[in-house]
Amino acid sequence: MEAIGIGVWGVPLAVFAGAIRVSTPFIFVSLGEAITERSGRINLGLEGTLVFGAMTAYAVAVVTLSPWLGVLAAMAVGACFGIIHGFICKFPKVNDIAIGIAMMQFGLGLAFFLGKPFIQPAAPRLPAIAFGAWSDLPQIQAALNINVLFLVGAALALVFWWASRNTRVGLILRVVGDSSDAARAMGLNPDTVRLFATAAGGALAAIGGAYLSLYYPGSWNEGISSGQGLMAVALVIFARWNPIGCSLAALLFGGAGALGPALQSVGVTKGYYLFYAAPYVLTLVIMIATSSPTRSLAGAPGALSITK
């Protein structure tokens, strides 16, 4: 590889590439949380599910030499975490938020404990598709090396967006989330629907974890997530529970996160701590700009159990 710098063009390229590389876990966790919250339940434990999914995927990939089996195993354990959360939360007087935080700590602790022997071994990585093969520039080739899971996540967002409006399953999910009473009047059991929604949310969050450990940055250790699962939960509110909004918010967040290293690499070296705060500043600014003191959040599920 002949090394050629690409100067300031590196910044937009890095933001673009970073948006794709960094956003995938955010997309999956926020989609999972959007489904869960659409059903009227909140799951703050997805950080734990994400990390446990990352550990499971890595461990299974090390043992079986198949990254895809790792992803499947992560989905299975993620669904289990979701089912535990959903099962406990259906009891009266149980607070979703407290259980979510407990489940997060449980997931983290268990992942650290079981993941101990897998910090050192190298796992096979998930494949990427080389969309940049047309270019002679190695930078563009690298930026356009797009992982399959990113494409799956983007496609899922579209499918969910469409399905929540146009299918019976989508309708059931929304009815349960907007009014438990109306759902019961229709003969639906809100607890069952929420259990499935929480399980699906857990499975999706765990895929996000698998992406972290098996593709980017592509290794398992205890600091692999550093709070991405929590940020993704916040992104759902930011995106107003809209699956496509979740993906866009995730992309924005990923791109803003790539800004700090990219600016330093072209010689804008002053104040990098400030640039590292860019994703959070951006979130705050958009939240403030789009909020209103006179009405509640548009699009919030009516039965969302923020308090019980």
Partner: protein
């Protein structure tokens, strides 16, 4: 998040035991606490505390390899704990090592363990010995049963720089750094000066991530360096694994740090600056068992066996190997100075004047706050 939730009320086991009716239990443990020469000669329990996992291909693994070396010594028991945050948690860990395992010599290895945590414990247990990795112990200011040890690894980064200087085609090398503290700045500067000893037109781009361990940001930083044309990369973060794997995945050469990372990228790994804590710990333990005084301010470099280099990788040219080995031999002879004037910083100020030179043990190097000319980056 985890760290916040860990901050439970700090009732230590020691205090609990003292205040409870089980005072007798303390009394029965007490003989093990005293480091009388006779007791020390018979058996010694040594405690190691790590801030991260001990198999992280990095800082903690280097210490754990050192701990493994003294496990082999007869009569020595090693107790270890990983993932201990730099909070009151480390005090609890030390209390439990002292009271439950009868550890008489403790090595809390992470930078933030020193003040106030290790100092508190040292005051509470004046008969036990505490040694901390880092450069912070001062005569008169800190207790006599504490001390610091550290290695001059900057020379290792200079040797990394030599290997990098021969390997780079674009005359641009990269450094992923955690925080702009003197030890890190010295490594960055040494890496560039090593490369410039091969070709004075080489520049080094540095990216600070702001934290010791942030996997995604380290990967982003590595990619950003490579996108800007850096074709040899090294780092100073707690676990270089992500940087090494990301760089190797992009076809870039790597110089290692902390431990030997060549198994992660056998083709692309040039060499690496590694700690050799095994020698240091063995020395401490031998002295403790013989009842001799342990040093309070223990330092050494390549020559003293505190630091070593990874074996040269297959991509290192014959010419590079000769210069590398010649420089290494010069360093082993002692008195080698990486910082020889005149040196300017990257803002144009003279930081080492003509005729001045700082050998590795020069105190001036410990307060380094600049990046030398040729390093693209800023300390703030």
């Amino acid at each position: 998040m985890t760290k916040l939730l860990h901050a439970s009320p700090a009732i230590s086991r020691r205090v609990f035991l003292q205040s409870s009716a089980a005072g007798a239990a303390v009394a029965s443990l007490a003989p093990g606490l005293l480091l009388s020469p006779a007791a020390a000669q018979s058996a010694l329990t040594v405690g190691f505390i790590y801030v991260g996992p001990k198999d992280d291909y990095g800082y903690n693994q280097a210490h754990a390899e050192g701990a493994a070396a003294i496990k082999a010594l007869p009569g020595v028991t090693v107790v270890e704990e990983e993932n201990v945050p730099e909070t009151v948690d480390v005090q609890k860990t030390m209390e439990s090592m002292i009271n439950l395992d009868a550890a008489a010599l403790l090595f809390p290895t992470s930078f933030g363990y020193f003040d106030p945590h290790m100092l508190e414990m040292a005051k509470k247990y004046p008969d036990l010995e505490f040694r901390h990795c880092g450069g912070l112990w001062q005569e008169g200011k800190h207790p006599g049963n504490t001390g610091s040890y550290f290695g001059y690894i900057g020379q290792g980064q200079y040797l990394n720089g030599i290997a990098a200087g021969y390997a780079t085609k674009g005359k641009k090398i990269g450094f992923v750094a955690a925080k702009p503290i003197p030890q890190v700045l010295q490594n960055i500067n040494s890496f560039l000066l090593g490369a410039r000893s091969v070709d004075p037109t080489i520049t080094c781009q540095v990216i600070f991530t702001g934290e010791w361990s942030l996997a995604v940001k380290e990967a982003e930083a590595t990619n950003a360096l490579i996108d800007q044309g850096a074709d040899v990369v090294t780092c100073h973060v707690d676990s270089p694994k992500v940087v090494v794997e990301t760089a190797a995945g992009r076809g870039t050469f790597i110089c290692g740090y902390h431990a030997n990372q060549s198994p992660l990228a056998p083709e692309k790994y040039l060499t690496g600056a590694e700690w050799a804590w095994g020698n240091v710990y063995t020395d401490f333990v031998k002295k403790a068992r013989a009842g001799e005084k342990l040093g309070n301010f223990v330092r050494g470099g390549l020559k003293e066996g505190f630091v070593k280099m990874s074996p040269l990788g297959p991509a290192v040219s014959e010419e590079a190997r000769r210069k590398f080995e010649a420089t290494l031999a010069e360093m082993m002879g002692g008195g080698f100075s990486v910082f020889k004037g005149p040196i300017k910083d990257n803002k144009g100020n003279i930081v080492v004047s003509e005729g001045q030179s700082f050998p590795e043990d020069a105190i001036e190097l410990e307060s380094m706050a600049y990046l030398v000319e040729g390093v693209v980056g800023s300390t703030a």
